[in-house]
């Protein structure tokens, strides 16, 4: 489990850190594959009758080949479009699914054996109806979980106090779950899932469907839990804000294969070869100018013009713009991470060299451009 992984696990902002990750990885996945046998028949009555006699199934690969290692205390974002295999991978890691091939250990356990000792140290938050009983007050579900996980009285008190405090659950404990709003339920669901102080958290879309402030609260909470208990967190989310706020590292999978594994800035550096330079021009100067000379004009809105400029040329272009045009305001931006991710997904299938992210130096390149720009550099 140890040495072969070291060569396979790609990229890290800091090679020494990643070395540690492979040595005592909390989560280690190698050559993971999971195919589902899906019943299949053609449309029509004849086919329906035929399928009664002889069922044909088709092998559908959900995860084709995924491998990574996660060090203790890491918070890793697990990204990919719908159907990429994220949830399948999480389910394998949590012990719900038996993989078709591959080696997986989490905390030294093989997850799908579901040893009590393993289950007592992990949690999987998936959807909103896992931990809590629909009909009983939240507090009662907590008491039940206390018995299920055999949490010692004192630790239970401390944990509940802590969770109530961090998530603001005071008012919610006596309420039956069916009377809670979506956001309230998610908070309680998370709390219930953490009562036994798991060392590894698998969070599948923990902020799905929540309003912005509830999302922020969940985010802050996960970060705080990770900090306090040095828990390892693997989370999927469609909200890049979650990933940006929580994860130093992201793992991107696409069509069941690893596409990228490294830090978020590295992802931007690798998949966003361009910068966006936005200038605000004084007066009505804009219409007459030959703006295309500076770069590809992607947007033009009155005096405001946005150029797409190759990253390497960005500094020079900014210099020229400032020197030659009546610039009132100028910003240099990376494309939004959402756009980058989208682009990764779009191009991902075609890309030959999957999972070979940039080297550490490239990853550390300042993402906001090297030029000192007078008018506030924003992202």
């Amino acid at each position: 489990m140890i040495s072969p992984l070291a060569t396979r696990v790609p990229t890290a902002p800091d090679p020494t850190l990643r070395g540690a990750a492979t040595r005592d990885a909390t989560i280690s996945v190698r050559g993971l594959r999971k195919t589902y046998a899906v019943p299949e028949r053609e449309a029509g009555a004849v086919a329906a009758v035929r399928s009664l006699v002889r069922r044909t199934t088709r092998e559908v690969p959900a995860v084709a080949d995924v491998g990574f290692a996660i060090a203790p205390g890491e918070v890793v974002g697990f990204l990919g479009p719908n159907g990429a295999g994220k949830t399948t991978t999480l389910k394998v890691l949590a012990g719900l699914l038996h993989p078709s091939a591959g080696e997986v250990t989490v905390l030294g356990h093989v997850p799908w054996r579901r040893d009590r000792a393993y289950l007592a140290q992990i949690t999987l938050v998936m959807g909103q109806r896992n931990q809590l009983h629909w009909d009983i007050p939240v507090g009662d579900s907590f008491v039940l979980n206390r018995a299920i996980y055999r949490i010692p009285e004192r630790q239970y008190r401390e944990t509940v106090d802590e969770l109530v405090d961090l998530l603001g659950l005071e008012e919610l404990l006596p309420k039956p779950v069916r009377n809670l709003s979506l956001g309230e339920r998610m908070k309680c669901e998370l709390a219930a899932a953490l009562l036994h102080r798991p060392r590894v958290l698998f969070l599948d879309e923990p902020t799905l469907g929540l309003d912005v402030s509830a999302q922020r609260r969940i985010r802050a909470f996960v970060a705080e839990y990770n900090r306090r208990h040095e828990a390892t967190v693997l989370l999927t989310s469609h909200y890049m804000a979650d990933v940006e706020a929580l994860c130093q590292r992201v793992i991107v999978i696409h069509r069941g294969r690893l596409l990228y594994d490294g830090d978020l800035t590295g992802l931007v550096a690798r998949f966003a070869p361009d910068k966006t330079v936005v200038v605000e021009l004084a007066g009505d100067a804009a219409p007459e100018l030959d703006l295309a000379a500076y770069g590809e004009v992607v947007r033009r809105d009155g005096g405001q013009v946005a150029f797409r400029v190759p990253k390497a040329a960005a500094a020079a272009v900014v210099g020229r713009l400032l020197a030659e045009l009546p610039v009132v305001d100028l910003t240099v931006e990376d494309p939004p991470v959402e756009d980058i991710i989208e682009r990764v997904f779009r191009e991902g299938g075609a890309q030959g060299d999957v999972a070979s992210p940039p080297d550490g130096a490239a990853a550390r390149e300042p993402s906001d451009g090297a030029v000192a720009v007078p008018a506030g550099v924003s992202r």
Binding site: R114, L124, L144, A147, Y149, R150
Partner: protein
């Protein structure tokens, strides 16, 4: 007991206590639903009671060895025994598997059968406080002929306990089919019709033709409900009683032995097709 990595008895006791407290509170929240449930539970045996008592009276006071008063006693004892042995695990399991609510249960470091058993026992103890007085009241108003010998009352207690265990395990095994069958409704229907017939809920088994009685006795059905009822009514000889206990014990041992195997196979299937 299940899967060979059982939790310690003390921890399990704690789990059952917590489950008990919580489910009691939960079920108390649904008093109206509980009452409606109870009406169903009372009405069905009451219907058969009235029908069979009428038959007995119209046939000169007796039908198939039961007087009207004995029919009343039979169906009222049956009502209580049925309520105490009844489970809903087949329906619940189908729902869980279909809705993906089985996964969270698999992730708990404790076998899900314990939660089911605890919930079931809670429900029974709670409703017993109502069914028992109702049965007594109906017994008086229908002139139930109920005067069991003392030894039968004593033997009834373990027979009832074994019946509760047997029916619970049998139901749980049938419920596990949900891992293989997508639409369990047909199987659940068949099973519940068989149960109603072969456990003596429509009529005492002695009124059925020989082949039906043999089937009910060879399969576990008779021993899940009818046996303790007949025992308490003093309708069984000492020998028949011993045979009954033997049948209960054998079936219980067999089913409990099959359970972990079926459970593992079911979970393996579940985790292969996509939990």
């Amino acid at each position: 007991m299940i899967a060979g990595r059982a939790a310690g008895p003390r921890a399990l006791l704690g789990l059952y206590r917590a489950q008990f407290a919580v489910h009691l509170a939960a079920q108390m929240q649904y008093r109206v639903m509980l009452a409606i449930w109870l009406i169903g539970l009372v009405l069905q045996p009451l219907m058969y009671l009235v029908v069979w008592a009428t038959v007995a009276r119209s046939q000169g006071g007796e039908a198939g060895g039961f007087t009207a008063g004995q029919f009343a006693a039979y169906f009222l004892v049956l009502m209580v025994v049925n309520q105490l042995t009844f489970t809903w695990v087949t329906e619940v399991t189908e729902y869980r598997v279909r809705e993906g609510e089985f996964s969270p249960l698999l992730l708990r470091p404790v076998h899900p059968i314990h939660a089911d058993l605890a919930e079931n026992l809670t429900y029974k103890l709670l409703t017993l406080t109502l069914t028992l007085p109702i049965a007594l009241l109906l017994g008086v108003s229908f002139g139930a002929d109920f005067s069991p010998p003392v030894w039968a009352v004593a033997a009834f207690v373990p027979a009832l306990g074994l019946a509760v265990a047997l029916r619970f395990v049998a139901d749980w095994l049938v419920a596990l089919l949900a891992f293989w069958v997508t639409r369990m409704t047909a199987i659940n229907q068949t099973y519940s019709v068989l149960t109603i017939f072969l456990t003596g809920q429509i009529a005492p088994l002695s009124l059925f033709p020989e082949p039906v009685r043999v089937v009910a006795a060879v399969l576990p059905f008779r021993w899940m409900v009818a046996f303790p009822v007949e025992l308490l009514l003093g309708r069984l000889s000492a020998r028949e009683t011993l045979v009954g206990f033997g049948a209960q014990a054998v079936w219980l041992v067999v089913l409990v032995a099959v359970l972990p195997w079926a459970w593992r196979a079911g979970v393996r299937r579940y985790s292969a097709v996509g939990a």
